[in-house]
């Protein structure tokens, strides 16, 4: 194993000499995710806040002046506008105003007669600010209704509480951050798998086909080191890079998630958000997936990572140059992505052969772990198959390196 360790060390030393590559491999994800997350939450918050701060523009037809005083009394939520010049529906769709509200001509009279009158609100369901206008109107009418009923009760001599049999107090237990965490939780395995492959591919090509191209592989092979040790060293390097890249991404994700929770708690100040802050970002992740689920998933990721690094090694060592290796290995990314999407498709659990299809069974097993349907047998099959395939590929790579056609262009 000494030779493999030496080759492994040499690869890392070589990488460490290239500051830029090092930066893009490891520091980039550390910066990327916090940036992405803060931007996402800022954008989301700004948009919502802007809508909340603006009054809804309403064109009101209310001859009996039944609702007009109440609307005018709340200028923060409502702004009455004159009839638009264009057609009414078109004007709403064009966002010239949020809603048109028409109240029955006889509304005032009906109110006095203790009858029911009708209000017709026209709004654009596809537009968030228009929906907000409707929501605000509903709240207003609810309050107004209570006032009217209470007035009617008073004329009957009954207590005004009759109008309010119950009061609902709702608290928001969730938060934007928790929502993101949930989504992330379901995507996590795929993100990690893709990161693992994409992160180590270029490095794998550099140390295999790249060494051939630069003529350094011959120097390496002319030493007394056994060929299989060279293969093992390179394999270890590709695997370690993939793992490190994945860990960096994971770390960055966790940190930015925790940050998101704490800022939201600070700004919202609600009980739920405070709870979120107390338990921290990682704690909330565990609400999405238990530590056992995460642990078992990662246990599967390791042979999968070995499989990938073997695949990259094989693709790199059989290629004559880096371009050839790159062309052979890049489609692998799409295969990995498709695999992820494929195993998220509904109804897959019912396909009986799927647990026996290599690699697909890994993403299937992870998915079942997350949905709490895991089967020990299927898990072990996936684990064993992946390890076996990885081993077979290591053997094949060594065979190829032992053939001189792999080193000399024939």
């Amino acid at each position: 194993m000494r030779g493999a360790w030496l080759v492994f060390k040499k690869e890392f030393l070589e990488l460490s000499k290239d500051r830029k590559t090092l930066f893009f491999t490891f520091a980039m994800p550390l910066i990327l995710f916090p940036l992405l997350f803060t931007m996402m939450s800022k954008l989301g918050r700004n948009d919502a806040a802007q809508r909340k701060n603006k009054p809804s523009r309403i064109f009101l037809v209310d001859q009996g002046r039944v609702l007009e005083p109440a609307l005018r009394a709340d200028p923060k939520s409502f702004q009455l506008v004159p009839r638009p010049e264009t057609e009414l529906n078109q004007a709403i769709r064009d966002q010239k105003l949020e809603m048109a509200l028409e109240i029955e001509e006889t509304a005032a009279a009906k109110l006095v007669r203790q009858e029911t009158f009708t209000l017709t609100a026209t709004y654009d369901r596809s537009d968030d600010s228009s929906k907000l206008a409707l929501e605000r109107l509903r709240d207003l009418i609810k309050k107004q209704d209570v006032a009217w009923v209470q007035a009617r009760l008073q004329t009957l001599g009954a207590p005004p509480q009759l109008a309010v049999p119950s009061r609902l107090e709702s608290r928001n237990a969730s938060s934007m951050a928790l929502f993101i965490a949930k989504i992330m939780g379901s995507f996590l395995p795929y993100i990690l798998i893709i990161m693992m492959y994409a992160g180590s591919m270029q490095h794998g090509i550099y140390t295999t086909a790249g060494e051939k191209e630069r003529g350094t592989l011959l120097s390496l092979l002319s030493t007394r080191m056994p060929r299989n040790q060279i293969i093992w060293g390179k394999l270890l390097y590709i695997f370690a890079i993939g793992l490190l890249a994945t860990l960096m991404n994971l770390l960055s994700m966790a940190v930015s998630m925790a940050h998101l929770f704490s800022t939201e708690a600070a700004s919202a100040g609600t009980k739920a958000a405070q709870a979120a802050m107390e338990s921290g970002g990682i704690g909330n992740l565990s609400a999405v997936a238990s530590p056992a689920t995460l642990g078992l998933s990662f246990l599967l990721m390791i042979p999968l990572g070995l499989f990938f690094s073997n695949f990259i090694l094989l693709g790199g060592i059989q290629a004559k140059n880096t371009v050839e290796a790159g062309t052979a290995l890049t489609p692998g990314i799409f295969v990995v992505v498709v695999l992820g999407v494929f195993s998220m498709a509904p109804g897959l659990e019912k396909m009986t052969l799927l647990p026996y299809v290599p690699i697909v069974n890994v993403s299937l097993a992870i998915r079942k772990l997350f949905s709490q349907q895991a089967s020990a047998v299927e898990y072990l099959i996936a684990l064993g198959m992946t390890v076996g395939l990885a081993g077979a590929m290591t053997w094949l790579s060594t065979r190829i390196l032992n053939r001189e056609s792999a080193i000399f262009k024939v």
């Binding site: 030779g3 030496l6 040499k10 030393l13 070589e14 000499k17 290239d18 630069r214 003529g215 350094t216 011959l218 120097s219 390496l220 092979l221 002319s222 030493t223 007394r224 080191m225 056994p226 001189e404 080193i407 000399f408 024939v410």
Partner: protein
């Protein structure tokens, strides 16, 4: 000690025009022995099979027939031991550009099972002889081909190999350094090492080689001390032998 017994090596290449596969017999039954304390010179025109022969001795190519032994270790039966005994130099073998010569030599010392400090000391001593001391801590990215060749020479020798296999060692070197390399090879001989070199520089062969083998089309046309060859062909210089052989091949 190097021993080749009836070694054959051919390649299959494709002719792009006729779209037919074609066999190239690069080495056809070469047998030769180089003893410790001897410098063997391999001569021959382009494509004669010199590099192929040396690559097989270095364990980078495998003979199709016959066998090769280096210090008693068969290149097929004990490849690691055989490779470990050889210091191989060829322009095909490049250096790691991202390293400085010092780092490069330390790493290759480790690869060859030499203590890195010892490897570094030996390598630096060699680089001093080759006049590259000023560059030992400079990244090799900007090195000229001659500077790279110098580092490669140090790389080939730093594990104190018993057998030295140099394929055109003076390519790209200035006359002063070329002379240094020849002196180095002579020194290796006095230290009792086995040396085989290929070259196109005939005066060099006459000066340092104890024995010369001439390869034409993969066949070794006898080997003998340079003076004996000259006598046998009755010519004043080695290049005349080439002309004579070429004329015979054409006839």
């Amino acid at each position: 000690m190097i021993q080749l017994v009836e070694v054959h090596k051919g390649f299959t290449v494709k002719d792009k025009k006729t779209r037919k596969k074609k066999r190239i017999e690069a080495v056809r039954g070469i047998s030769l022995t180089v003893k410790p304390g001897e410098i063997y010179g391999l001569l021959g025109p382009n494509g004669a099979g010199k590099s192929t022969t040396l690559r097989m001795i270095a364990g980078l190519m495998h003979p199709e027939q016959g066998r090769i032994e280096v210090c008693g270790a068969g290149t097929a039966t004990e490849p690691e031991k055989a490779r470990g005994a050889v210091g191989y130099l060829s322009t095909d073998l490049n250096v790691y550009n991202r390293f400085t010569p010092r780092e490069f030599l330390r790493i290759f010392g480790e690869f060859q099972g030499v203590d890195p400090a010892v490897a570094e000391r030996r390598g630096l001593h060699l680089l001093e002889k080759l006049e590259l001391s000023d560059f030992v801590d400079v990244k090799m990215e900007g090195f000229s081909s001659g500077q790279r060749q110098k580092v490669s020479i140090a790389r080939a020798l730093l594990h104190d190999p018993r057998v030295i296999v140099f394929d055109e060692p003076t390519t790209g070197l200035d006359v002063l350094t070329a002379k240094t390399v020849l002196d180095l090879l002579s020194l290796m001989r006095t230290e009792g090492r086995t040396v085989i070199v290929s070259t196109h520089v005939l005066p060099m062969v006459e000066r340092i080689c104890d024995r010369v083998g001439i390869i034409f089309d993969g066949i070794l046309h006898g080997d003998a001390p340079p003076r004996e060859i000259l006598q046998r062909w009755n010519v004043p210089a080695l290049d005349e032998v080439f002309f004579a052989l070429a004329a015979k091949g054409g006839a």
